[in-house]
Symmetry: C2
Subunit: 137 residues, 2 copies
DNA sequence: GTATCTGCAAAACATTTGCAATTCT
DNA sequence: AGAATTGCAAATGTTTTGCAGATAC
C-alpha cells in the first residue's frame, strides 16, 4: 500500500498523519485481520522499535472517533479493530476464534425507526464453524 | 414470580437450584434489564447479605453454558446478561446506554451457510437514540 | 517556542482462580 | 462424612491515566 494513500485518508478525516498512525492504518487496511492491540503491537513493533501500546490505543481510539475504523466486540475480552467501516457483517468461528468479513449490506434491515427508537447503526454477526475448521474435523 | 418456576427451570436445564441461583434467575426474568454482574450484586445483596460477586460470576457462567441466559457484549467493558434466549434483537441507546429488547425473529436472515461457513447463531443489534432520550432533548 | 505526539510506569477495573469455609443430603 | 456450593483474597489481563520526554511546525 502506498503510504501516500494512508496519509491522505488520515488528513481527509482530520487526523494529523504521523508515522505511527500511518503504519497502523496501513496494517489494518492491508491485513484485514481484525487485530487486537496486542497483535498490532507484535506485528509492527519490529518496524518501529520504539512503538508503545499506549500509542496504539490512542491511535485506534482516534480512528474510531473519526470514522476510519470500527471496534468489534464480539464476546471477547480484547477489542478487535476493522478499517472497513461500511455496512458489512462479521462471522466468528467458535472453534478457531477467527473473524471473517461478510459482504452483506446490513441495510437489508431497512427500518429507520423501531418501537420509537431512531436507528443510526445496524450490527450483524454470525457464529458457527468456519470453512477451514470444518475440513480439519 | 413464583420461586417454584425458577426452581423448575433450573432443574430442567440440569442445574441444582440453590437459593442464590434461584434469586439470580428470578432477578433476570423479572427485571429484564440486561444487568451487569455489578448491578445484580447491588440489587440483591440486600436480600442475601452474604452474596459474593464470585457466586454471581459462577452462576451466570453456568446459566450461559446451559442455555438459560445469554451474554450481551455490545461495546462495553462489562458483560450484560439476558434471560431471554430465543432469537431477538437488541437496541442500545448511545445516550443513556440502556439496552432494549426488540421482538424480531433474527432468522429473517435465513441462510444456513455463508461463504462455506456453517451458521449456528445470528446476532443483531441496533444503535441510536431511544424513545426516552429523544423526548429529553 | 509552543503545541502535539509518544512512551513508560502506575492505576483502574472486570473477571478468574486457588483454596478454605460453609452448607446440604 | 462426602460432595457441591460459596466467599474471600490474590492473581490476571486489558485498557486508561498522569506525567515526563521527544518531536513537529
Amino acid at each position: 500500500m502506498d503510504p501516500c494513500d494512508s496519509k491522505n485518508m488520515l488528513q481527509e478525516k482530520g487526523i494529523k498523519p504521523s508515522l505511527h498512525r500511518m503504519k497502523i492504518l496501513e496494517y489494518l487496511i492491508e491485513k484485514k485481520n481484525h487485530p487486537t492491540v496486542d497483535m498490532i503491537f507484535r506485528d509492527i513493533s519490529g518496524e518501529i522499535p520504539t512503538l508503545s501500546k499506549t500509542t496504539i490505543y490512542n491511535t485506534l481510539t482516534a480512528f474510531v472517533e473519526n470514522g476510519i475504523a470500527q471496534a468489534i466486540t464480539i464476546e471477547d475480552k480484547e477489542v478487535k479493530y476493522d478499517a472497513t467501516v461500511d455496512n458489512h457483517a462479521h462471522f466468528k468461528c467458535t472453534k478457531c476464534g477467527n473473524i471473517y468479513d461478510i459482504n452483506m449490506d446490513t441495510k437489508i434491515i431497512s427500518i429507520k425507526t423501531l418501537s420509537g427508537h431512531i436507528i443510526s447503526e445496524r450490527h450483524l454477526y454470525f457464529k458457527g464453524i468456519c470453512k477451514l475448521c470444518q475440513k480439519k474435523k
